[in-house]
C-alpha cells in the first residue's frame, strides 16, 4: 500500500510562547491521561496540570489565553520534551493545533516523535528565542514563517537563521518522514542482515 506523505517544507501561523527549560513530557501530558488505546482527544489535556487547578478551573497559562488559541507555532526554551518517550506528548500538542516548534533545544526522543508526525523542531540560540518569545507576546496575531528548507524563521519583517537537523530537514522537505513503507521496501536486505547476526543464527 502506497501512501501519500505530505512534504513539510514550510509552516506558517501565529505563535505561542511556552517559557522554561527542562519542560518534561509528564508536564506536557500527565500520565493519567495516557490510559487510552488511541491518541484521539488528547489535545484537550495538553499541559493540563499547568492549565487547570484542582477544580478544573483555568489557571494563568498561555494555552488558556484567547489571543493564543489559534496559534500553531510553539516557541520554547532548552531541553523541551525531556523525560518519558511517550508520543502522547507531541500527539497532544498536534491535536491542540501545533504544527511546528521553535526552541533552544529538544530532547532526542521527543524530536524523533515530532518528526514521525511531520512536526518540525527547529533550534536557535537563547537570545534569538527570547526575542521571538517577546515578539509573540506583543504580536499574538502576527504570522511566524518557519522555512524548514532554508532554515530560517521570519516574523514581523525580521528573518533569523535557525538550525534544522539534516536528516529531519531532508525527511520533511522530501516528504519521507513516514519511514514505515520506505523501510519495508528493503525487506530482502533486512532478512540478510538478520541472518548474518550470530544470535539469530543460534536460534535456528
Amino acid at each position: 500500500m502506497t501512501e501519500e506523505i505530505p512534504e513539510v517544507d514550510y509552516v506558517s501561523g501565529t505563535g505561542i510562547p511556552i517559557r522554561g527549560n527542562d519542560i518534561d513530557t509528564d508536564q506536557i501530558i500527565p500520565a493519567r491521561f495516557m490510559k487510552v488505546v488511541t491518541f484521539d482527544g488528547l489535545g484537550q489535556f495538553a499541559f493540563f496540570d499547568l492549565r487547570f487547578d484542582d477544580d478544573d478551573e483555568p489557571k494563568d497559562h498561555p494555552m488558556n489565553e484567547d489571543r493564543f488559541k489559534d496559534s500553531s507555532v510553539m516557541v520554547v526554551n532548552a531541553n523541551f520534551g525531556c523525560g518519558s518517550s511517550r508520543e502522547h506528548a507531541p500527539q497532544a500538542l498536534m491535536r491542540w493545533g501545533i504544527d511546528a516548534i521553535v526552541g533552544e533545544s529538544f530532547a532526542e526522543i521527543f524530536a524523533g516523535n515530532c518528526l514521525a508526525l511531520g512536526i518540525p523542531t527547529v533550534t536557535a540560540d537563547h537570545e534569538t528565542i527570547s526575542e521571538l518569545q517577546s515578539w509573540v507576546e506583543e504580536n499574538p496575531d502576527g504570522d511566524i514563517d518557519v522555512d524548514v528548507e532554508a532554515e530560517t524563521v521570519t516574523y514581523g519583517g525580521n528573518t533569523v537563521d535557525v538550525t534544522v537537523d539534516d536528516a529531519q530537514r531532508k525527511a520533511l522537505v522530501d516528504g519521507v518522514w513516514d519511514t514505515t513503507a520506505l523501510m519495508k521496501s528493503n525487506a530482502r536486505a533486512v532478512q540478510e542482515t538478520a541472518n548474518s547476526l550470530p544470535y539469530i543464527q543460534s536460534d535456528d
Partner: protein, 473 residues
C-alpha cells in the same frame, strides 16, 4: 567520530542500508512492548493492512497500569482493564510471547528482559519506553522509541536512526561505604546536566563500574536518559556472562552460550577505541546523592548544602527557583532532616533482588516511622517470589512496609499507587518531575534504595552511613 567502540560495532552489525534521509535503517534484535505505548501502533498497522514482521523477536509484558494490590480480573480500573485486554488481543493475533501476570514471569519490562536472558550483549533493543537504556548494562545498544517508531519496528523489524557520538564516562577508584550505583548516576547527571547527553551515547567504564554487579550497572544505564543520553552501555565481561549463564536463554543450553560468547567478546570496545568525548569522575570522592529539586540533575551530596539559585549557571537559575519553591527547600541547608510522608522502594531503576536485599538488611529489626506510608514493589514476579522465599518479604512487613505485586507503580502513578496532595516521597525511582508520582503538588526526593529504607525508618531524609546494619542471620 568514534571508532572501535561497542556502539560502532553493534551499529555496523545491524545496519541494513542508508535511507534517502541520510538516516541508517537499523535492524532490531529485540523489540519489547508494553500496554501503554503499543496499542496505537498496532492500530496504525491495521489501518495500513500490515502484519508484525518479526513476532519471534518481540516480547510483551504489562507493567505501567497493572494494579499492585488486587490483580483479579477485570481490573477495578476500567481504563486499565481496557488497555490490558487490548494488549492481550494484539499479542494473541500476532503470535507474540507475553509474560502476563498468570505466567509468574510478569514484571517491569526492563527487569524481565534481563532476568529471562532476552537481553544479550551485542543486540539492538528497543521499546516504547525511555528507560530502555537499562539493557545497555549487558553491552546491548538499547534505546527508547515513540509509538510511530513502534509501528516501524512492528512492520519492518527496523528503525530509522542517525548515528550519534560516544562519550566515555570513566568512574575511577572505589565507591565508599553506603555509596551505590544510583549515587554514581545521580552525580553524573548533576555534573553533565539533564541535556548534557543529547546527541551522545554514554559508555560507562572504569574500575568503579567494572566492580558493580549487573543490578548496579542496570541502575546506571537506566538513568542515562535522565542525562539526555538516549542510550548508555557497559562493555560485557565475566560479570555479564555469569548473569547470562543463569538465565532461561542459556541455563539448559551451554552449547549456545559457548557459541555466542566469541560474538559478545568481539563487540567490546577496543583498547584503542576513539571517543568523541571522555569524562573522568573520581569514585572515591562520592557520597550518597539525593535530589533537592524537580529534575534528576538537581542533586546534592547528602552532607552538602543545597545550592542557591544565584550560584548556579544563569540558564539553570529560573528552573532552580521554581523547583525550590515547589519542594520547599532552603539553600544553604542540607537535605538531611527533610520530612517525608511516603517511602517508595521500586521501579525499573532499583527493584531487583539485590536492591531489595540491601534495603532489607538495613530494615531488619527496625520499624517504619509512624508518620510514613512505606511500600515495596518488586520489579517482577520472579523477584517477588525469590524475595519471599528468602524471607525479605517478612523483614519488610514486620517493619511496617506494604509488600506489593510487581509493576511500575508509584514511579509514575498510572495505577492506584499515587502520592496525595503535597506528600513528600523518598523514592528509589528515576524521575522527580512535578506531578510524576500522581499528584501535581507531590514532592519526590530521588535516592538509592538503602537511603529510602533509612528515610522510611527515620521519617526524614537520612545519611544511611549513620545507621548500622543489624546483623541479618
Amino acid at each position: 567520530m568514534s571508532e572501535g567502540t561497542l556502539y560502532d560495532k553493534v551499529w555496523n552489525e545491524h545496519t541494513v542500508t542508508t535511507l534517502p534521509t541520510g538516516q541508517t535503517q537499523l535492524f532490531v534484535g529485540l523489540h519489547l512492548i508494553h500496554e501503554v505505548t503499543s496499542p496505537q501502533a498496532f492500530g496504525m498497522l491495521r489501518e495500513r493492512d500490515m502484519e508484525v514482521a518479526f513476532p519471534e523477536r518481540t516480547h510483551a509484558t504489562v507493567d505501567h497500569i497493572v494494579p499492585t494490590a488486587d490483580q483479579s480480573r477485570p481490573y477495578a480500573d476500567g481504563a486499565a482493564e481496557e488497555m490490558m485486554s487490548e494488549l492481550e488481543e494484539n499479542v494473541r493475533e500476532a503470535g507474540i510471547d507475553f509474560s502476563d501476570p498468570t505466567s509468574g514471569d510478569q514484571g517491569i519490562v526492563h527487569v524481565i528482559g534481563p532476568e529471562q536472558g532476552l537481553t544479550q550483549p551485542g543486540m539492538t533493543i528497543v521499546c516504547g519506553d525511555s528507560h530502555t537504556s537499562t539493557h545497555g548494562a549487558f553491552g546491548a545498544l538499547a534505546f527508547g522509541i515513540g509509538t510511530s517508531q513502534i509501528r516501524d519496528v512492528l512492520a519492518t523489524g527496523c528503525i530509522a536512526m542517525e548515528k550519534q557520538q560516544v562519550r566515555k564516562i570513566e568512574v575511577t577508584g572505589e565507591l565508599g561505604d553506603g555509596v551505590e550505583a544510583k549515587d554514581v548516576i545521580l552525580e553524573i547527571i548533576r555534573r553533565l546536566g539533564t541535556d548534557g547527553g543529547v546527541g551522545y551515547v554514554y559508555e560507562y567504564a572504569g574500575e568503579a563500574i567494572e566492580n558493580l554487579g549487573m543490578e548496579g550497572r542496570m541502575s546506571i544505564c537506566n538513568m542515562s536518559i535522565e542525562g539526555g543520553a538516549r542510550a548508555g552501555y557497559v562493555n560485557p565481561d565475566e560479570t555479564t556472562y555469569e548473569w547470562l549463564a543463569e538465565t532461561d536463554a542459556f541455563r539448559d543450553d551451554p552449547e549456545k552460550f559457548e557459541k555466542l560468547k566469541p560474538y559478545w567478546e568481539s563487540v567490546r570496545s577496543d583498547d584503542d577505541a576513539e571517543y568523541d568525548d571522555v569524562v573522568t569522575i573520581d569514585g572515591n570522592e562520592l557520597e550518597p546523592v539525593v535530589t533537592w529539586g524537580t529534575t534528576p540533575g538537581q542533586g546534592v551530596g547528602i552532607t552538602e548544602p543545597i545550592p542557591a539559585p544565584e550560584d548556579l549557571p544563569e540558564d539553570k537559575q529560573d528552573t532552580a527557583r521554581r523547583a525550590q519553591e515547589h519542594m520547599r527547600v532552603t539553600p544553604g541547608e542540607t537535605m538531611q532532616g527533610y520530612p517525608i510522608d511516603v517511602a517508595f522502594l521500586g521501579s525499573c531503576t532499583n527493584a531487583r533482588l539485590a536492591d531489595l536485599r540491601r534495603a532489607a538488611a538495613l530494615v531488619k529489626g527496625r520499624q517504619v516511622h509512624e508518620d510514613v506510608r512505606a511500600m515495596v514493589v518488586p520489579g517482577s514476579q520472579r523477584v517477588q517470589t525469590a524475595a519471599e522465599e528468602e524471607g525479605l518479604k517478612d523483614v519488610f512487613e514486620e517493619a511496617g512496609f506494604e509488600w506489593r505485586n510487581a509493576g511500575c507503580s508509584m514511579c509514575l502513578g498510572m495505577n492506584e499507587d499515587q502520592l496525595e496532595g503535597d506528600e513528600a516521597c523518598a523514592s528509589s525511582s528515576n524521575r522527580n518531575f512535578v506531578g510524576r508520582q500522581g499528584s501535581k503538588d507531590g514532592r519526590t526526593v530521588l535516592m538509592n534504595p538503602r537511603m529510602v529504607a533509612a528515610a522510611a525508618i527515620r521519617g526524614e531524609v537520612t545519611d544511611v552511613r549513620e545507621m548500622k546494619e543489624v546483623n541479618v542471620a
